[in-house]
Symmetry: C2
Subunit: 249 residues, 2 copies
């Protein structure tokens, strides 16, 4: 695991629904986080949803720690970041996760960083907010700002994971086609389109502009060129051999 | 609502759990989306979780439409984007949501755009993938790539909402302090620290470098300056009047 990510702790304060805790575990696993702390949970269901929602992230659920107060849960943290949806005098200094995460990654190189999420029904208290060095507010549409707990954790964890730069996008297996290869494809198509009577020689330059436009948008890789080259060759071959082919059928 | 966002449709294919549909509704509401289509849902529970998880986004749940096939659900869409976690020959052309969303917003100015999400247990079929003009893969940690359906929808919707640029960060109510104001604060502190015997004149320049460093990091706004100026004034006043104060107590 990425060393800075190991130094992040997700802290859930006064959580009501065990399913949310399970969903948080799964979201954490998706984004490379492992350290989960609960502060005075107030679970109001039978607790079985936690395991069901965690799916294969039950190791995070099993290794989570529970504390009586936020103060204890973040005692060993060098930096504490709270999340809030409310606005107010001392909540003016809030930042968006995308802007803040690169800074938090730098801080996590030197010490533990806690991301603190409040109660489903009433968030963090003013006293808990006061224990935070910084606040995050997740960008949401003004008409509907109440975000689910595990969804809030996911967005913060996702922005953190993206900020690490660790994600390697799936490799395009086919290399980009070179200009020379693409020019040969284009010539082959011109030849074929003339041969099959799609266009006449005097209109060819104009028609080929349309083909050029479509190829520019859609034919990028060596595989793409191979497919379209195959179409041109087969079309030309078929127009030569159609009579014999049809006889055989 | 933002006009391009109105042109996006979230399409869920063969969904198993009604709770996921409810969570999707809430995530859509959070990010300004409203058009939900289900394709041949396979709900395996009693369906009551949908309303519970949608919370106040039940209007999206109530106005959703259900189709027998993906083809019907996207028939009026000008652009269809599938989501996939699998890798494979024809899945090589996948993009990250953050890179793709600005392009999709431009496309949505001219027509409907569908974002298609597959089954919880087996995603989209090859035939369904073939109906997509583009594919998205969400960046997740290689060790745990199985992302919950509503979490996948949330990340795509969040990236879409962020790409609109509609989000207005909470306004910092206090204006940034000017250099002149900060210099006066700094002088007041120097005067006060000398007065209360925190430092002597010959060490003052050196000590004030530390104060300067702390203020540079922490004192940004007119409100911040007002607080720290108040501290300096009160400290100076108190050191003058301590005796009288203590007499009164």
């Amino acid at each position: 695991m990425n060393a800075p990510l190991e130094n992040f702790r997700i802290v859930l304060v006064g959580t009501l629904y065990s399913g949310n805790i399970g969903s948080v575990c799964r979201a954490m696993a998706n984004m490379g986080l492992r350290d989960l702390a609960l502060v005075a949970p107030r679970i109001c269901d039978d607790g079985t949803e936690a395991g069901r929602m965690a799916v294969h992230a039950t190791d995070i659920l099993e290794t989570k720690r529970t504390f009586a107060t936020l103060e204890e849960a973040v005692a060993d943290c060098a930096w504490v970041v709270g999340t809030t949806a409310r606005e107010g005098l001392y909540r003016a200094h809030v930042q968006e996760p995308r802007k803040l995460m690169p800074e938090l990654l730098r801080r996590a190189a030197d010490g533990k960083v806690a991301l603190v999420f409040g109660r489903e029904d009433k968030g963090l208290t003013n006293d808990e907010i006061a224990q935070c060095n910084q606040l995050i507010r997740i960008p949401v549409c003004p008409g509907y700002t109440s975000i689910n707990l595990s969804q809030a954790v996911l967005i913060c964890a996702y922005e953190l994971y993206c900020a690490t730069g660790d994600y390697v996008p799936p490799v395009e297996k086919s290399l980009p086609a070179t200009a020379g290869v693409k020019r040969r494809l284009f010539e082959k198509w011109r030849e074929m389109l003339l041969k099959i009577g799609f266009m006449k020689e005097d209109k060819a330059d104009h028609m080929m502009q349309g083909i050029q436009r479509i190829f520019s948008r859609g034919v990028y890789t060596e595989d793409d060129v191979a497919i379209m080259m195959g179409v041109a060759r087969q079309s030309a071959w078929f127009s030569d051999h159609r009579d014999k082919w049809e006889e055989k059928e």
